[in-house]
Symmetry: C2
Subunit: 505 residues, 2 copies
Amino acid sequence: MTFEPHGMHLIGGEWKETAQRFSSQPVSGASLQFSEADADVVDEAVKSAEAAFWDYGYTDRHARAAFLEKVAEEIERRGADITAIATAETGLPEQRLEGERGRTVGQLRLFASHIRQGDYLDRRHDAAKPDATPPAPDLKLVQRPIGPVAVFGASNFPLAFSVAGGDTASALAAGCPVVVKGHPAHPGTCEIIAEAIAAAAEKCGIHPGVFSMLQGASHEAGTLLVTHDLIRAVGFTGSLAGGRALFDLCARREEPIPFFGELGSVNPNFLLPDALANRGDEIAKGWAASLTMGVGQFCTNPGLMVTLSGPEADRFTEETADALSKVGSAVMLTEGIATAFRKGSDAIANACGVKTLIKAEARGRNAAPALYKVSAKAFMEDPSLAHEVFGPLGIVVLASNAQEMRAVAERLEGQLTCTLHMDNDDTEFARTLMPVLERKAGRLIANGFATGVAVSDAMIHGGPYPASTNFGATSVGTMAIRRFLRPVSYQNMPAALLPDDLRHK
Amino acid sequence: MTFEPHGMHLIGGEWKETAQRFSSQPVSGASLQFSEADADVVDEAVKSAEAAFWDYGYTDRHARAAFLEKVAEEIERRGADITAIATAETGLPEQRLEGERGRTVGQLRLFASHIRQGDYLDRRHDAAKPDATPPAPDLKLVQRPIGPVAVFGASNFPLAFSVAGGDTASALAAGCPVVVKGHPAHPGTCEIIAEAIAAAAEKCGIHPGVFSMLQGASHEAGTLLVTHDLIRAVGFTGSLAGGRALFDLCARREEPIPFFGELGSVNPNFLLPDALANRGDEIAKGWAASLTMGVGQFCTNPGLMVTLSGPEADRFTEETADALSKVGSAVMLTEGIATAFRKGSDAIANACGVKTLIKAEARGRNAAPALYKVSAKAFMEDPSLAHEVFGPLGIVVLASNAQEMRAVAERLEGQLTCTLHMDNDDTEFARTLMPVLERKAGRLIANGFATGVAVSDAMIHGGPYPASTNFGATSVGTMAIRRFLRPVSYQNMPAALLPDDLRHK
């Protein structure tokens, strides 16, 4: 039996309609009607999260782990339906969505095992020193959940960065109820995943306010959500403009709250001379494949390749162009994204000093790969060339020497990743770049591509602004849980009043 | 030989004058002239910090530990001079300043030992899994320093929360150069401490840009400092109005930066029935002593005492009034603080339903303790009664039952601390309050007073807004170093390019 969305919001375990509607825009199948969230349902969802927190915020972490695992199970049970509707809504291929489902349930299970271990609680104990001057009290510290969290899903990962993605998984793991603002590019997918989470909560006997999902295509619901006085933090993945607007709203609140936004990155690559000479062709092919993976719709899409000009760089550029020319146009996540891609690509094509190598026509919701080249000098003179164009677009930046390559690195904004392509003889060259790149990005890669973000303990998916609005945080990997915790210290507190996590190991 | 301030700024190891001046306002001795920072010296100081970062940010942590210890030593060498000028400038007694000096050097040495241990680096390693689907890369993670940090000292701790206080110590420990905006209430003290830090840097062969100190009595220097594009974070202790203004500037930057501000707290106490009956007199005396310690000029001054109305509460209130009436008026840190105290005290005296128990006249820079009482109902109807009045002022809030006491707790803003005074029979009562208090404060105390903040691993000096602008952070204790670090992940990176802290244990 195939899943048919009813178009309602999920609020504290119940499905509710609102008067206003918006239409979904699937690539295949009929457009459907979805309720548009208004002030009343936003308030209801947040109040239900707050009510749930008094219960859920004090649950045993093993109970939360079981809940996360049940969410994974409920998602798997709906696997075929999820793939069907997500494929229709996003145009992403079946296999990709199946892989992404695996990533999503793997992430939920990773957080389950992470909180079971308990290291994330960062428990500390300073024993009393009554004879010290001044006498020191007994102090115990533990990380506690912060309260209701708002999550904004991304369009480009309808499962792994959306309703049950890393933000939701880490907030629920921490002990925080979640209110998701569903992404209007895949509202039916949002609905079926919300249904899975609600089913898991019911089966595990968790307070239904632990999770709500609001549908909406306008900015209003998001604005109402981040300015609601009971929301304690926001997780967001999306555009610089949209993210900055929400960040500003959070900062301007009477009581400001943290906004954890991942807003944009061009993920520069630095191709060093020895690697260029030895493996230029192979790197060109790898780059073209990474650039066009998922129609270039990855946060970690490697948009820039900085190298030293010369015949080897020319050959590398030709190889890349050749590989890209074999990739046809493909459907993007939304028509808006496709339009923005073409506009961004045109702007680069028309910028001073830029030479177009590949640029094919595409219409409607389609995009074809594009490749440009520009001198480092011209690149540095036009900061707009360093801004993300979301989609399959690469720029080769040709530096005349090592100093200029470092100068390019110094001009970069904050990035999710920076990559070095290097062979043994490049080590000294790489050493001059490392301190610069380290200040620019959350993850530094040698000889690989940034697409493919492992979900693990040592992963950082974040970095200086605008890659992230909070350079100390990651939205992928177990460290993501820290965003939704705060340390509390208990002084001379009787054991009966300590949180369970401080009473038992 | 006595120290005589020359009134200059310390910029990257050199003392410099600016054209504009302001006058110090010591309690004893002559007023002196100090340079007022302008745009040029702010820019010079920050650029010198940035230049130093390329060196200092890559120092061995054992070298930084030795530097911090040398700073402590240089402060101790100047001990008598520091006490002399700080006493004259602030009016705080000698013994208190000697204790505070001990706290300051103890803090520097604690951070030295903390970074030597290396746990703060939070090193993680996910080994490559080439056979996994998808194959997992080798990932290593370490916490890296963020770059130049701006620090604003507080007036109330001229040593421990000022030029070489916890913000500076933790930033330097992390590997971040520091630019301090000295507090105009004790500019001579700022100068001698800056001199000690510069001497330590020179003796340890540390880049002189690692530390600068700018004098200034206007808001301009602070504004220029937090909006300088090379500053990566701000540490601040001070008033709500001043702190919020700087927070807003940081949030509105093109590239927003974190502002770690500690802005205000009334540190409510909840006196439960069994403790009131058994130890009311003793708690009254303890409260009066804590309220008037340092003329009430502590961030953790216990301004509110919430208890159940009745004859025992009346007796408690009388005992407190009696103890406070024996404490005379005393000189405050600045005339502005004394004026604000009298204004705040008058406003409470005139608020609806408030009864004045103790309120003595005081003039100029002096303040006398004040005690008020109010019903919980009237307290909750007037939110201004819950705002901090900096100085020796207490309010007894009388609730008619346990529910009302909890309602008072629910209405509170964020606090540095909340305290329970309880005996064995109060445990159940306390249990109803704990979840509320835990959401309000960074530190929960049983049967003690919040004044006296241990500098240790499990201390949190922070909390929800406005106690702190960043509820995940502390400004006291070893965890304070986290504010000035960011995680960086290294993927398949050759050992030669890894930071030293990832190559060696």
